[in-house]
């Protein structure tokens, strides 16, 4: 219309010198640098390319230049597009913050009939009256839950063994359902149980009220029972039977399991994964021990250096990848979380690894006695006589006093990886997060000291390992994508819709 002839390519080039956009970088071995921008897009450059890039000398026609430009590591015109896209992607990545506290943990009883040496919460065996949540405490805690602006609320029952106070679970579920309908919040319930007390009545109730079940499975019998002693030495048998019964009654996807890695576990990665597969699971979450509760006292027998955990994790992941290659769809869930952050533009809230930390703003814990804590770990510390992270009590403190608490503001302000020493210039910043309570519990300070932090070491090594694997092998790329999409590999190749 405006023109009757075609212009040449040069007409459309800006011809401006380029400027850098914010990014982090690190040495990535083999003469390469990893660069990651604030929205988690990454590139691997040769050292020479990197040098040329940062000294504003990169050839504007080469593919590396174009890659850096279209992933928004640099800009070369007056167009606002790079900034618009970056801000949209940044907002998207942080969308998990919207809605405020979504996970609400109810410690309905501190009692437990197991006596696990790695127990993070220092369970007790007696005194029902003292260590069970009262009806009034439960009701008042629900008042706070429904003050949360989150449109979707997850209520998790923990302990001790929560089924020991099943009456309270019923009360909370039913009261929450009534209030949920009135407030138009959608609700999800999860009970975290060792399943030893499971019976038909409980199963029927869980089914009627659509309560999900999360249990512990540490590995085959010898390992599980060693980790999780109880009278009769049959924790494994009861857990496996419980898993089967929940599946049959509630459905395949209604039960999940968590494993805790002890010193004994370190020697048995294959056996642990095989145990998960033989019990019908398609995933495992390889979790290190939490340094709280009894775990601190028994660290000498159950604990290990974080390097040993990382080694264990890599061996287990290798084995899992081998299984996937051979056609068994099986996911390591922590890897999925990190890979989703690395490979997709989507937000991933995970209260134990986000920035700012999830304490209080992503999760709140209502203890059996009505005390409110910022995280599960906070109440674990409290059971160790350190009530540093007690936000208040359902008896006497208002929602504003608890969730507007100065301490909580301090935690949020001190847990942004963008400004934390050692994190602020880390290339993995966009994939990582902070855990102030963990820092405090292990290092005595909520900001923490990165060079000696096990939390840092674990996440740094795992992220680096996943990135290295992803860029080493196209089959691994396919497997990782299948985990991110939660679709077996076959569905991501031949099984596409016709």
């Amino acid at each position: 219309m405006r023109q009757a002839r075609f212009e040449k390519p040069d007409f459309y080039r800006s011809g401006t010198v380029y400027q850098l956009l914010p990014f982090q970088f690190m040495d990535f071995g083999l003469g390469r640098k990893l660069v990651v921008n604030e929205v988690g897009e990454h590139l691997i450059l040769s050292n020479a390319e990197f040098q040329a890039f940062v000294s504003h000398g990169l050839d504007q026609a080469c593919d590396t230049y174009l890659d850096l430009k279209t992933k928004h590591f640099l800009y070369d015109s007056e167009s606002k597009v790079p900034f618009d896209l970056l801000s949209i992607k940044y907002r998207t990545k942080r969308a998990f913050l919207a809605g405020f506290t979504k996970l609400h943990i109810f410690v309905v009883s501190l009692r437990c009939e197991h006596s696990c040496p790695y127990c993070q919460v220092s369970r007790v065996s007696t005194d029902k009256a003292r260590y069970d949540m009262s009806p009034e405490t439960a009701s008042r805690a629900l008042d706070l839950v429904f003050r949360s602006p989150a449109p979707e609320v997850k209520i998790e029952f923990q302990g001790g063994e929560p089924l020991l106070n099943f009456e309270r679970i019923r009360q909370i579920v039913e009261e929450a359902e009534t209030r949920g309908a009135a407030s138009r919040k959608s609700l999800e319930f999860v009970v975290c149980s060792n399943l030893t007390l499971l019976n038909d009545e409980i199963l029927g109730y869980l089914q009627t009220h659509n309560v999900l079940v999360s249990t512990s499975l540490d590995g085959p019998a010898f390992l599980h029972n060693a980790n999780r002693p109880r009278a009769g030495n049959n924790s494994h048998e009861l857990a496996v039977r419980g898993i089967r019964r929940v599946r049959e009654a509630l459905g395949e996807e209604k039960v999940s399991a968590l494993m805790t890695t002890t010193r004994l576990s370190l020697q048995h990665p294959h056996e642990i994964i095989n145990e998960y597969i033989s019990n019908g699971f398609h995933s495992v979450f390889l979790r290190p021990i939490s340094p709280y509760g009894f775990a601190v006292k028994t660290a000498r027998s159950t604990g290990y250096r974080i390097e040993e955990f990382v080694e264990f994790y890599k061996r287990a992941l290798d084995y899992i990848l081998k299984l996937n290659r051979e056609g068994t769809y099986f996911v390591e869930l922590y890897a999925r979380l990190l890979l989703t952050r690395i490979l997709t533009p989507f937000p991933t809230g995970y209260v134990d690894l986000q920035s700012p930390a999830g304490a209080g703003i992503g999760v709140a814990v209502y203890n059996y006695d009505g005390d409110v804590y910022a995280t599960d770990e906070s109440r674990m510390l409290a059971e160790m006589e350190d009530k540093q992270f007690r936000l208040g009590s359902v008896h006497g403190d208002s929602y504003e006093e608890i969730f507007g608490n100065e301490l909580l503001r301090t935690i949020v302000a001190s847990s942004c990886v963008e400004s934390m020493p050692g994190c602020a210039d880390c290339a993995f910043q966009a994939f990582c997060g902070a855990d102030s309570i963990h820092n405090y519990g292990t290092q005595g300070d909520i900001v923490g000291h990165r060079p000696t932090s096990d939390f840092h070491k674990r996440n740094f090594e795992l992220i680096k390992h996943l990135l290295t694997l992803y860029h080493s092998d196209s089959t691994i790329q396919r497997i990782f994508w299948s985990w991110v999409q939660d679709a077996p590999l076959g569905q991501l190749t031949e099984g596409v819709p016709q």
Partner: protein
């Protein structure tokens, strides 16, 4: 496929649009919307009130009180429910075919881009007045119509007229899926995107091209400086206002090389896209002027196409491959291939006759008869792998 005929008019002082009926309509049943089509049938006693009468017979002295086109030849394609426009010069053009899945409204011949491979080069004409005709056409369409394409030129140049047309479709064709082919540039203006979203059409999708992850490369292909900025911003404005978008990439020598990076750019920046279409080039219009710069045998970009397709698919996007023949497409990509070419310009070559995949294959644009891949061949054994070495799945 021929969709126009020439006859001799009588009493047609201006263009007439109407719906074809062969059986006739009882008086009082909106005859004024209908055009009576008499093939070999003798003239009915009563032609009063029809918008016009069409006949293959030479002359129609019995119909001196209604507009007539007589002596029509080659009109076998006309069927009940079709909508045609009669011009005073005797042309009868089909605007809508009730039995076809490929109906479209060509809103305007004007465009604010000037794409190197445009299949329908824009014209410098003032044709916005045709909006009334488009609205009338929508009135006459069968509400059972499954899909309608709104195209151009650039339909959004009608601005308020474009919004009116979409609103009108929503009212008159509530069950018809609308697919708008636009460059999306005007949605750079947020209020325009907001106004389109506010119409709340139940089944609307905008097909918007993004030719490269690199702004200057896109701007060059569409021959418009700043188009990339407008389209990218437009896509986000549409997403903000809940308008579904399809991202379209036409593959040619200027776009194939960075196709994998373009795919990643799309997955990262437009994860909300309802679908992504990777499209073979139609060999008409401006393509001929720019052939030397645009042509690449599709066989030679299979690696990039496969890489991009798998990346988009793994990223969870609904990816489709349009306008590609199965014999040049990697076997693993077949499930993504759609029979996307509109029936009226869809052909197969003689070479294709013995091919066992012919029924699944989208075939060619009519225009590909003269220029197509050198690797077209009938597939005689569907079990045999082919294009080996290309797959990156």
């Amino acid at each position: 496929m021929k969709l126009y005929s020439l006859g001799t008019t009588a009493a047609v002082p201006k263009a007439i649009i109407g719906r074809i009926t062969t059986a006739g309509i009882a008086p009082g049943q909106a005859r004024e919307d209908h055009i009576l089509f008499l093939k070999e049938a003798p003239p009915p006693a009563d032609t009063d009130g029809y918008a016009a009468v069409l006949t293959t017979q030479g002359g129609a002295p019995w119909a001196d009180h209604v507009p007539v086109v007589h002596s029509l030849t080659g009109v076998d394609y006309l069927a009940d429910g079709d909508v045609v426009r009669i011009d005073p010069n005797g042309y009868v053009r089909t605007l809508y075919r009730r039995q076809s899945p490929n109906n479209f409204i060509l809103t305007t011949d004007q465009c604010n881009s000037y794409c190197l491979m445009c299949s329908q080069p824009p014209k410098r004409v003032n044709d916005f007045y045709r909006l009334a005709e488009h609205i009338r056409l929508v009135d006459l369409m069968d509400p059972e119509t499954k899909e309608l394409v709104i195209t151009g030129g650039e339909p959004t140049l009608l601005k308020d007229g474009f919004l009116r047309l979409i609103q009108h479709c929503k009212e008159k064709l509530p069950g018809t899926a609308l697919h708008v082919l636009t460059n999306g540039r005007l949605f750079y203006y947020r209020r325009f995107a907001e106004a389109l979203g506010a119409i709340g059409h139940p089944d609307l999708m905008l097909g918007i091209p993004v030719y490269s992850d690199v702004d200057s490369a896109h701007d060059y292909v569409v021959q418009a400086k700043g188009a990339f900025e407008q389209t990218v911003t437009g896509l986000h404005n549409l997403a903000r206002h809940d308008v579904a978008v399809e991202i379209r990439v036409v593959l040619h020598a200027l776009t194939y090389r960075r196709l994998p990076q373009t795919a990643e750019f799309i997955a990262r920046n437009f994860p909300f896209a309802a679908q992504v279409a990777l499209m073979g080039m139609e060999m008409v219009g401006f393509v001929h002027k720019n052939m030397a710069e645009l042509w690449i045998d599709p066989h030679d970009y299979q690696k990039e196409l496969a890489e991009a397709t798998w990346f988009l698919f793994r990223s969870g996007l609904n990816v489709k491959i349009y306008n590609h023949q199965l014999c040049v497409l990697d076997r693993l990509l077949w499930p993504f291939a759609c029979r996307s070419i509109s029936d009226w310009k869809n052909i197969y070559l003689d070479t294709c006759d013995p091919c066992l995949a012919r029924d699944r294959c989208g075939g060619f644009f009519e225009s590909a008869a003269k220029k197509h891949s050198d690797y077209i061949k009938p597939l005689l054994d569907l079990k045999a792998p082919h294009n080996a070495g290309v797959a990156v799945a």
